[in-house]
Symmetry: C2
Subunit: 315 residues, 2 copies
DNA sequence: AAATGATTTGTTATCGTTAACAATGATACC
DNA sequence: GGTATCATTGTTAACGATAACAAATCATTT
């Protein structure tokens, strides 16, 4: 049924050389005569040979694979992130081994361990609930990079988002618009990110009227706002998806976002553009570039990036 | 710097057995005495041993990897698809090797070949521009499954979407609403999918007023509708993203989608819900389940699924 | 022409695991 | 007791590639 594999030996035989010579050809080693090189390449072409990545990995220790772990690929922030990483990986002809944990901490833990053990040249994680000790146990096995979250005590690379600064801008902006009563619609209160956004916002805005935590899903805030009786002057949401839920609920109540009630999101996913949502932009593309730079140079630094206010129509 | 790898030999030494016995333990072979099993497991625990996936792959031919190739992970249809596949893969403890071709045909060709050669147990593709011969050359090397697109002449597995039937429903619906003049805002005219949706729609609706092709991006239709002078009574869009662009443009023109002009999308991505978009739902979750069923049973069939009309507010 | 050095090629061993077979020890049966 | 039977364990070789070394070839110098 399945065609048998063409190996380096087949190529060697057909081209009348040794496996080693073939290996040298496919790896562009300098000391191969033009003539044999040609013969080998012919044979490769004729047989449709391609080196076996796994065999290489086992011998050289280099896998040419980058692992990515995110908590929910359906969230535009993460699709955006993965999309950009893919762009770069394609350029460099690397493969991506991808995992989505569905925000489940146990799954997260498991796939993290498995990725380390299956062998990746670098592992990019957008940590949701990683426990510190757990992570640090493996920090010396692979190049691990935290994408977004700042974990000061861990000896791993980071491109971290200064969430405090970002949320603070949002707070200051809403304050400057004369808002007095805000309600925050946040995510998981045990996540660093959530905490940072809350505290940042408060630094910029001052006292908060109300604070609620939801699962980071569009339907959650929709249902809440739909049912709530007393509306604030403004909502600041954990991300754009949740803001989308708010907007929809408001509209159904006959309330115009941006006029009667202000709504702000976070991330600047593409729905923000579609909905004219005022939000805080995270520079994903730039972050990915920095990440690859660090991976390539094996620099285990912690680089900070700052989000930026995007004023549109809803606030 | 990097910690050296713990291998099966280390475990054997520590537990006073042979590598083969250890192998048997980790693979749950029956004939291992309880006693040695315990000793081995202890040693594994103590050393933090995990089998090397690459070594296994090379020896057994099974990689435990599933390859996915999509054209744009930022498109909600594909994030949804990948998300569901991940859910199942997680259950089965398989890894996913993922590739995004950015709709580039050459990249698509390249990663396809590379995936085949790097070794995956199955390869799920959502083909954009695959050329037939190219695909069939590899059809006997790996289990290849086309997700969505119907390629009748190719000897590969499929869970294909009956786009004609889906688009036809849309056409019939719009006709039943008394619409006379429609405009179709479609994608790449060389894609099977595009063609099927056009012809299906015409079967349901009849004569079409106008037909345009765009890159499958939100901004494209937005700019177009923004500038166009004469509006039809209804738009039927290639997907929800493009419909989102239309809606935004209409609103900016002071036109209410669903009242003055009807707008329909396709896919039923989550923005459809957010925007109250009338659309055609593709049953992704179900498709993924069928796909895995086929992969597991090694059944090279072509299963058809039918989309379903979702009436909301914009049409 | 012999010696030297540089270039090109081949050999052997190994990466971590498992398949196939061999060996050991225990148990059962006549 | 001796042999057949079974469960358990170990040995060897191999998967496909490459690193490290050795050998062969060629060109260059004296």
């Amino acid at each position: 049924m399945k065609k048998k594999k063409v190996t380096i030996k087949d190529v060697a035989k057909l081209s009348g050389t040794s496996p080693m010579t073939v290996s040298r050809v496919i790896n562009n080693h300098p000391n191969v005569s033009e003539e044999t090189k040609k013969r080998v390449l012919n044979a490769i072409e004729k047989l449709g040979y391609r080196p076996d990545a796994d065999a290489r990995a086992i011998r050289t220790g280099k896998t040419n694979r980058i692992g990515i772990i995110v908590s929910d690929i359906r969230n535009p922030f993460y699709s955006e992130m993965v999309g950009h990483i893919e762009d770069v990986a394609n350029e460099k002809k690397m493969f991506i081994t991808f995992s989505d944990t569905s925000r489940d901490v146990d799954t997260e833990k498991r796939v993290f361990e498995e990725m380390i053990h299956m062998g990746v040249d670098a592992l990019i994680i957008a940590p949701e609930g990683f426990e510190i000790e757990h992570l640090s146990r493996y920090a010396d096995r692979t190049f691990i990079l935290s994408f977004g979250v700042h974990l000061p005590d861990l000896p791993i690379a980071e491109v971290w988002i200064d969430e405090e600064a970002g949320a603070r801008q949002a707070g200051e902006y809403l304050k400057s618009r004369g808002v007095k009563k805000v309600e925050l619609l946040m995510g998981n209160p045990r996540k660093f990110t959530t905490l940072a956004r809350i505290s940042g916002f408060m630094k910029g805005f001052g006292r908060i009227e109300r604070l609620r935590h939801f699962r980071v899903e569009y339907g959650e805030t929709y249902r809440y706002v739909k049912e709530v009786e007393e509306l604030p002057e403004a909502f600041f949401c954990y991300n754009d998806l949740m803001a989308a839920g708010v907007i929809k609920a408001l509209k159904e109540k006959g309330i115009t976002p941006g006029k009667d009630v202000l709504v702000m999101g976070y991330d600047d996913a593409y729905i923000a553009d579609i909905l004219e949502l005022t939000t805080v932009k995270i520079p994903i593309r730039k972050m990915v570039e920095i990440a690859f730079e660090m991976i390539e140079k094996n620099k285990k630094e912690k680089i900070r990036v700052e989000p930026q206010l995007m004023v549109r129509k809803t606030a």
